[in-house]
Symmetry: C2
C-alpha cells in the first residue's frame, strides 16, 4: 500500500488485550463459535499459506513473478471458496476478478493486491523472501518478510476466515465481489481497466462498499478508521543534455563545465521552482481546486489531537520540529489537508564513494505529490507540465508513474459503522481520522461511476511496510495486540456485522 | 589525473607520423641510437611491466591495494635506476620520494601517481584489471585497462626510457628527483606532506622544474602544451534531518511530507543559490580574486581558435550549444578563464528503478569547483561555507575532498621550451594553451616555496581516462600517432634536450 499505515501515526492507549482475552469466554452464536474453532485448528495451514505467498514475490517495478503471482492469487481465491475467479488482462500486470455467491441478501466488495514493494536483502536481519518466524520482544512471534504486513498477512487472515467458514460447514452471511491487482506498488497504473471492465463494474455496483484487509493496530493496540485518503502522483523529472539542447550529450570531464551548461543544475533550478522558500508547493494553480477542510473534519482532529501523544509521535519518526514550527494540532491538520511535493530520490552523475570529476549529461528527481479533494491525478500532472513549460523547463522529461485521485468516505456509511462496531466489541474505541495522508487506489471505488464507501479493516498488527524487516504478528505476547487467529476472527465478526 | 587530457579538447592536423617514420633514418648521436635500440629490444619487457602494473590497481577512494601499490611503485623506481627510493608516510596513502644522481649538471623533477580511478567492470568491453591487448581500428593495438593512459602507460614509457639508458650503458644526461603519490584521484589530500617534507623539498628546490609523463597526442596527432592548470575543490554537500533539526531523522513514509520538512529540498535550495539563472557561479565573493586574462593569453587563444575545428570539438562531446550561446573563441576563453561550480553527482533517498514513497532524511550533492588565478583552495572553501551560512544553509555538512590551487608556468621556461623543441623535432608544432581547464597537483611545485615551472610531457596517445575502455596505444597503425616505443624515445629526447 502507498499509505502510511494507520498504526504508524496514530497512537493512543487502550487495553484491547484484556478484553480480547475475556471475550474468548463470552457466549457467541454457535455458528460463530464453530467457525472460530476451525480458524484455530487451521492456524498452521493458514500460516503456511502466508509464508508460501511471501516466498513468491510479485514486483511490478522489476517485472518479477508477474504471471506466477497472478496464478497464485487466483488459486488462493479459488481454494478459499470463490466460485468464479477470472484473470483480467490489462495493458500491464493482469488483475483478478472473483465472486463468491453465498445466496445472501447483502454483497460486499473486497480489494486485494498481490504485488509487494522491492526489497534489498542486505538491509534485512532475516531474508525478505524467507518468511521466517522471528521472536520480537514485547510483541511476539512474527513472520518477517517483504509483503508480510503490506498486504499478504492481513489478506491471508481474511482468506483464513473464509476457509474457517467452509470448514465449519457454514455459508458466508454476505456475498463477496473481489478485485485484485499486481501493480499497487507502482501506483496501480492499470487497475481502472480491472474495476471498470463490464463484469466487475456491474458486480461492484451491487456492493455496499469495498474494504481492504488491513493490520489496523499500532504497537499500543490503538486503531484508527480513515474516512478517506489523499491522492498521489508519482513521477520522475529527468533533465538531459540531449533533450535540453544544452550541456553535454554524454558524460564528459567536469573541466568542460566552464563552457557547457549543466543538466543537473537545470534540474535543481526546476525543482527549486516547485516549492516556496518554506518548502510548500509552489506549482502554478496546484491548490486551485483544494476544498477547505470541513468543520466536521476539524472536530475529528480536535479529538484526535487530544488522544494522541505528541512526544511519542515525534519520537517514532525522529522528528524535532514540524514544518512551519506548527503545534501538534496544526501539524495533524496539515497532514490531513495539505497537498505536498516531495522528493523521493535524487540520482544523477557519479553516485559512488568520494568524488568523480564528471559533468553528467543527465539527472533525475523522483517525486511524489499528495492530493486532497478536489484535486485530481490528471489535472495535477497537467499543472506540473504547464508550470515547467512556463518557467523554461519545458525540455525536462516528465515521466509519469501511477497515482490516484483522493478518496472520501462518509463516517455514517454502514461499511464504516460496522468496522467501528467490531472494534468496539473488541474493546477498542477507534479514532476517526478525516483522511489518511497516504494513498490507495480506493478512488476507483469512491469516485464515479461507483461512488461506494471504501476503507480498510482488520484487527492485527504489523509494521515496516516498504522498509527492511517488515513483519506481521502471528502469536501475540502483548495483551493489547491481536495475533493471527484474533485477526481471522475479526474478519468473521466483520462479515456477520455487515450482514 | 583530474585534468581533461589535452587531446580531448584540442584538435588540429599535422602529419607527425610521416616525420616520425622519416626520423628513424636520421643520424642521431651514437649514444642515442644505442638507447633507442635498447628501448625497442626491451619492448615486450616494458609492455609486461605496464600490464602487471595495471593488474594491481591502487584506488584511494576504496582503500584498495594501498600498501601493495606503494611497494610496487618503489620497486619500479628502484629497478629503473633510482639509487634512493623512500616511502613517505602521510596522514593518508603513503607517497614515494626517489632520486637518481647521474652526476649531471642539471636536475629535473618528475611527478608520478600510482593510483587509478575507480572502474565498474560491467561497463567495459575488456575487463579493466586484465590489461589486455585490443585492436582498435584506425588506431592500432592498445592496452586496455583502468590507468592505461591515466597514468601508468605514459609513466611506464618514461621508466622504459630509463631502462634503455641503463641497458645501453649510458648515464642519464640529467639528475632526477621524483615524487609520487597514491591519492591523485581523490584530489591529492596529503601530497603536500610528501613535497614539503624536508628532504624532497630540498631536492626539488635544486630542479629546473617538474614534469609528469603524459600521452599528449590527440587522435589527429596534435599536441598542446598547457602553461598552467585550473585549481579544483571537490566537496560533498550533505543535507540531513538530524543536522538540520527539521524534517525526519530517518527515512519515513512520504505521506508525512505534509507536516515535515524535506532535507532533499533543503539541499536543492542550497544548490540553487550557488549559481545564477544562467548556471554561472553565484557564491558570494567567489570571483573577488580572479585576475583578468592577460593579453598574451588572449593572443594564444586567438591562435588556438583558428587552429581548432569547432564542429569536431562539439561533436566529440555531443555538444549542441555552448553556455551563454557563446561563439567558439569565447567558449575557449571561458574554458581557460572562468571559475566553475559543477554537480558531479546527486544521490539521495530512493535511487532504484521506478518510485518509492519515501521522505528521505538525507541527500547529497557531489560538487567540484574549478579555480583560476588568484583563487585558492582554502579561500574557496571558506567562501562556500560563508555563503551557505548567510543563506540559511549553515546546517549542511560541507565534506571537503581534495583539491589544488591553480598553477601557472611561463611559456619561456626551459622546461616548456624543451618540450616544444622535442615536439617540433618530431614534426608537430604544439599549440600553446594558456591554462588547462582540468587540474593537477602542480601547484605544489609552481606555488611557494618552490615556485618551479611544471607541466606534462610525452609523445603517445591514449584516451577515456575516468571512463570505460580506457586505453594507451602500444603499436600504432596511424601514421600520426606515436606508439609505445616512439613515446619511450620522446622521453630519451626530452632528457637530452633538458641537459
Amino acid at each position: 500500500m502507498k499509505n502510511l499505515t494507520r498504526r504508524d501515526f496514530v497512537m493512543g492507549s487502550t487495553a484491547l488485550g484484556l478484553v480480547l482475552a475475556a471475550r474468548e469466554g463470552l457466549a457467541v452464536g454457535d455458528d460463530r463459535a464453530l467457525i472460530y474453532r476451525e480458524a484455530e485448528r487451521r492456524h498452521d495451514e493458514s500460516l503456511q499459506r502466508l509464508q508460501d505467498w511471501i516466498r513468491t514475490p510479485t514486483i511490478a517495478a522489476e517485472g518479477r513473478n508477474v504471471e506466477e503471482g497472478c496464478a497464485q492469487m487466483m488459486r488462493l481465491l479459488g481454494e478459499a471458496g470463490f466460485q468464479k475467479v477470472e484473470r483480467m488482462p490489462t495493458d500491464g500486470v493482469p488483475g483478478v476478478f472473483a465472486t463468491l455467491d453465498a445466496g445472501a441478501k447483502r454483497t460486499i466488495g473486497v480489494y486485494f493486491m498481490y504485488d509487494v514493494k522491492q526489497a534489498n536483502p542486505d538491509e534485512w536481519s532475516s531474508p525478505p523472501w524467507d518468511a521466517k518466524l522471528v521472536d520480537m520482544p514485547g510483541v511476539g512471534r512474527v513472520v518477517m518478510g517483504r509483503g508480510a504486513v503490506n498486504q499478504k498477512g492481513p489478506q491471508s487472515a481474511f482468506l483464513a476466515a473464509l476457509h474457517a467458514f467452509r470448514a465449519a460447514g457454514r455459508t458466508l452471511p454476505v456475498n463477496l465481489v473481489l478485485v485484485a491487482e499486481g501493480e499497487e506498488e507502482i501506483g496501480s497504473p492499470h487497475f481502472a481497466q480491472v474495476v471498470r471492465a463490464p463484469a466487475p463494474l456491474a458486480m461492484l455496483a451491487k456492493t455496499e462498499g469495498v474494504f481492504m484487509p488491513f493490520a489496523s493496530q499500532g504497537l499500543d493496540g490503538n486503531i484508527t478508521i480513515n474516512l478517506g485518503a489523499k491522492g498521489i502522483v508519482e513521477l520522475e523529472l529527468i533533465a538531459s543534455g540531449e533533450r535540453w539542447g544544452r550541456g553535454p550529450g554524454k558524460d564528459v570531464h567536469s573541466s568542460l563545465r566552464a563552457t557547457l551548461d549543466s543538466p543537473a543544475f537545470h534540474l535543481v533550478q526546476a525543482l527549486n521552482s516547485l516549492v516556496t522558500a518554506d518548502g510548500d508547493p509552489a506549482i502554478d494553480g496546484l491548490t486551485d481546486r483544494v476544498r477547505p477542510l470541513p468543520a466536521a473534519d476539524r472536530a475529528l482532529l480536535d479529538t484526535a489531537a487530544r488522544r494522541l501523544d505528541e512526544a511519542t509521535w515525534k519520537k517514532s519518526y525522529s522528528v524535532q520540529r514540524f514544518a512551519h514550527d506548527a503545534d501538534f494540532r496544526t501539524a495533524l491538520e496539515n497532514l490531513v489537508s495539505k497537498p505536498t511535493v516531495n522528493i523521493e530520490g535524487l540520482v544523477g552523475g557519479y553516485t559512488g564513494p568520494g568524488g568523480m570529476t564528471v559533468l553528467p549529461t543527465k539527472a533525475t528527481a523522483k517525486l511524489d505529490l499528495r492530493l486532497v479533494p478536489d484535486m485530481t491525478y490528471e489535472d495535477t500532472i497537467a499543472k506540473i507540465r504547464a508550470h515547467l513549460e512556463k518557467r523554461g523547463f519545458g525540455d525536462l522529461e516528465v515521466k509519469v508513474g501511477g497515482g490516484y485521485d483522493p478518496t472520501t468516505t462518509r463516517a455514517d456509511a454502514r461499511l464504516v459503522q460496522s468496522q467501528a462496531a467490531v472494534y468496539r466489541a473488541a474493546g477498542v474505541e477507534p479514532v476517526l481520522w478525516p483522511r489518511l495522508a497516504g494513498s490507495w487506489p480506493g478512488y476507483l471505488f469512491t469516485g464515479a461511476p461507483l461512488e461506494l464507501p471504501a476503507g480498510h479493516f482488520g484487527l492485527g498488527h504489523g509494521a515496516r511496510a516498504h522498509a527492511p524487516d517488515e513483519y506481521y504478528l502471528i502469536e501475540s505476547q502483548n495483551p493489547k495486540l491481536a495475533g493471527f487467529d484474533a485477526a481471522v476472527k475479526s474478519y468473521v465478526d466483520y462479515l456477520y456485522q455487515l450482514a
